[in-house]
Amino acid sequence: MTPEQYQRVKEIFDALVDLPAPEWPARLEQLCPDDPVVKENALEMLRADSQAEGSFLESSPLLAFEAQASMIGKRVGAYQIEDQLGSGGMGAVFLASRADAQFQKQVALKIIKKGMDTEEILRRFRSERQILARLDHPHIARLLDGGITEDGVPYFVMEYVEGMPIDAYCDHHKLSLEKRLAIFRKVCNAVQFAHQNLVVHRDIKPGNILVDAEGNPRLLDFGIAKLLNPDDSDLSVPLTETHMRLMTPEYASPEQVRGERISTASDVYSLGVLLYQLLCGSYPYSLKSRRPGELERIICESPPRRPSSRILRSPDSAPGDESEDWREIAARRSLKPEQLRKHLSGDLDNIILMALRKEPNRRYVSVEQFSEDLRRYLRKLPIQARQDTARYRIRKFVRRNRVPVFAGVLILLSLIGGIIGTAWQARVAAAERDRARLEAQKAEEVSKFLTSLFAASDPRDTAPDSLTARQILEEGARKISTELAGQPELVADLNLVIGQVYSNLGDFEAAARHVTSVLDWQREQAPGGSVGVAMGIQVMANIQAKKGDYETAEKSLRESLAMFRRLLPQNDLHIANNLTNLAGLLLEKGDYEEAIALHRQALAIREAQDKPDLADISESLNDLALALKSQGEYPEAEQLYRRALEIREKEYGPDHFFVGQTAHNLGALLQVTGNYEEAEQQYRRGLSISERTLGKDHPDLAVDYNSLAIFFYINGNYEEAAKFFGKALAIWGPTLGEKHPHFATGTNNLGLTLMNLGRIEESREYLEKAMKLRIAALGEDHPNVANSYNNMGRIYHQLKRYDLSERYYRKALAFYEEHSGPEHPNVANTANNLAKLLIDLQKYPEAETLLNRALSIWTASLGEEHPNVGAALNGLGLLHLRRGEYAQAREFLQRARDIYNAKFGPDHPGTREAEGHLATLAEKTAL
């Protein structure tokens, strides 16, 4: 239709609209015989006219606002209304001040909607006002006055609070879950105070809790709901429209919706909804319907959704759908959706659901208890809220003991300083894995037994903290021997479980005792060996390895491997698992080549399965990469780590312990190859995961400290390095003992750091101690011992004990050349160090040969820009400087300086060494 046509339509409409409808068609023909569009539109409009009359179009929606707007400037009682603050179901709230007061004190004045029972409300107000005026609490806004307006509507006067609703406040400041819980507990405190004064709020919701700029919440409207509610009696009042209007359905408890007696438990419920919303950004139910009957059904009957289950798992969904919002909701808590889900899952889920129980008497008995459980959660103590006591405790227990099943393993890190790193080897003992499978088959029996175990110690009667894991185990062991005597297979399984847990707790003797008893029984059953026997041997080997007894462990693992190969098809997963364990042990022993070969075999078996297990494959990739790195095969190692990391992130989620392990290992590799920026990122990622998943004193957390310290060391930040090496040692000493190879490594590393800090004498003590510990634990033929020789060479060089220094360097070099091969980075490292000594001894030709050798090894394995190359160049520069070959010296030194400067900046010791030599050079040539 064109504007011109519309003008004709209007003319026809105006002419015909007041005529009776039957006359329209004929008149239409007369007025517009030629244009069917005009005719049709006009006819439709004529028909619409009668319906449009009196429709919504008749009154502007703005008129709805007029009533409220008209209040501003009016006087109510002793108060002058200045402004509107907001409006709610009960009426509107205004900012007002006492019209007759000397000083202007602002108050909030709430005018109740027309149509409520004024007389009754006022009567209640008079009877309650004394009680309400007594509610003097820092987090409660007080009720000051009340009365009736000229129009005959009740009003209440309250303290005026400036602030944001609690939910908006938390989101606006992107508060973490902990901070949200802290504010929420202040709210609980206020509600509890009111309950003690026999006042129930009845209308707890974010709009009634304002948080001021200092982060302190103030509760509004205490007692108001009761003044307005017609149900202050024991009699059940049927649900009516008015009734519902007074409530905020999202926060209303089942008893409120039903019109039943309201108690403090109703506030507990509303607080539960509030907490639900603060933590996961949504409500327990979807209340789309506004029909009272439907609302009642949902609130009273449907179970609330677990908060954690609200957070969607998939972070990859297309933007605009719900997961986008979860990202936003999580971001407002400074988390990722997956992290938010994890935080909520478990204790917080249970706490909230306990507050939201349908039956008032099954909720927390008081707000105080609710708050107390949150405190316990924040302190990481067991909470009260749970569905099933025994199951709950088992889960707590298993979770506490889950992580330590995996052992961190030492490896060599070849660096200039010969500092040694530690790395994770995701060496899940095959026996543990098989044990887990076995356990799954008999899960029911085992879990029944464990349940009885926990039930026997009756957590309801004892304080939850008083039971230690060890006590539970002892109780378990006792029960196994007495109550299950007739079920040897179950006894065997449980003894393996218990042995494993003892091993995790670091009590290797008790562990060995339990596993040995199983093994003896199994050997008795199958003297020729069996799969079960082989698995028992593996568990035993794991315990031996943890004790640091690598020789026995290796023997055990070779025995079980042979047994598996005899009994099973060659591509059986048992064999792959055994290979993985053996390879891991060989890596610790320094037999890199065989370790690599075995890991490749294990990987091949795992990849060849009909349904390959990605988690298994990622383990093989991680471990193989670790072995390859030890052998100096950096590019392949990096590629495998990245593959392993990708799989693990997908399989376990981004914050899983395993992801942390591989991130850490990749960081260590990137550090060797000179990618320091990403190395630090990966280290910090690994560390933060470890800090969250492991205890504060866990030996495996110290592995992360050690690595981060190495990072600082390489960057020339020796103070920080010493601090973190110290932290690692402080954990390893008491937990693993001084005989453990980790402790020797920490001692060695701290020694080297002290040398760089100029604390030479202390340094020598640490390095010598480390060397002795290593020889005692590993024997003389171990790469770590060679590393100690190298370091002893360095400290004696510093002490100008040139003879001793040279002897140690040559021992280290001989070992590396023989065991690691002539092209290994460790050879370059020691060659470089020895060359520096030889320069001081003026043995220039051999020094030059060694430096060139180091230079070519490093350039080939690490690239031309690596700082190690810079170190060799510094050495060559110094050599030529001493010989008086200044032009060559300058070229080497400038290249060295440029490499260090580009990587670490001007303050790094490497840069300063080059600059120092260049300054000497300048003096010499100036003469």
Binding site: M1, T2, P3, Y6, Q7, K10, F13, D14, V17, E44, M45, R47, A48, D49, Q51, A52, E53, S55, F56, L57, S60, P61, L62, L63, A64, F65, E66, Q68, A69, S70, I72, E82, D83, Q84, L85, G86, S87, G88, G89, A168, M244, R245, M247, T248, P249, E250, G281, S282, Y283, Y285, S286, L287, K288, R290, R310, E322, E324, D325, W326, I329
Partner: protein, 188 residues
């Protein structure tokens, strides 16, 4: 700056920062101010005075319809701007009120949150706004009649004053406009 004006400024800031709830509180204040201005304007116009918009309306229009030059030349201009501003405010209100549930958050239920307008009204306002845009293409003056009547709440006489036409014309235009809009909304 008067207290009300300061409050409006603050409310506008909050709305811009994402606290759309504040529109609930802003609308009545602005409406009242507009009504006051409108009556003052009509009265003074007869006395030959020139209108100056007050701070508050300036504030609202600066923010809501992004007009920085608000010295109204004549009453039609004022009402055109005012009606458009109120329309904008109402549309925002209705949009927010009508916003589809996202992210698992609960739908706001009319029983609370001081919903002055029902959900149906909000839906209608949005549909009406679209229909009115189509009407403006066919007949601009008629669309302005609707805007003044419906979105600014002016009565027939006020609307006639604002547009400088006779009340009879407003009545006639209003009736056919309603019929057209009603048909549009029913068929849409």
């Amino acid at each position: 700056m008067s207290l009300t004006s300061a409050k409006v400024t603050q409310m506008l800031q909050e709305i811009q920062q994402g606290n759309k709830d504040r529109i609930n509180d802003l609308l009545p204040v602005v409406y009242q101010e507009l009504r006051r201005l409108a009556s003052g304007y009509l009265r003074r116009e007869r006395e030959g005075h020139t209108l100056q918009a007050t701070e508050i309306v300036n504030e609202v229009y600066l923010k809501m319809i992004a007009r920085d030059d608000l010295n109204f030349n004549n009453r039609s201009h004022f009402f055109a701007i005012a009606a458009n501003g109120m329309r904008q405010l109402l549309i925002d209100y209705a949009r927010r009120h009508n916003a589809a549930k996202r992210g698992g958050g609960a739908q706001k239920i009319e029983l609370d949150e001081g919903a002055v307008l029902s959900k149906e009204q909000s839906t209608l306002i949005l549909a009406l706004d679209e229909a009115l845009q189509r009407l403006a293409v066919l007949d601009e003056r008629q669309a302005r009649v609707v805007e003044l009547r419906y979105f600014s709440g002016l009565n027939v006489e006020e609307t006639a004053e604002a547009l400088g036409v006779s009340p009879a014309t407003v009545k006639r235009e209003w009736r056919s406009a309603k019929a057209w809009l009603y048909r549009e909304l029913k068929s849409g």
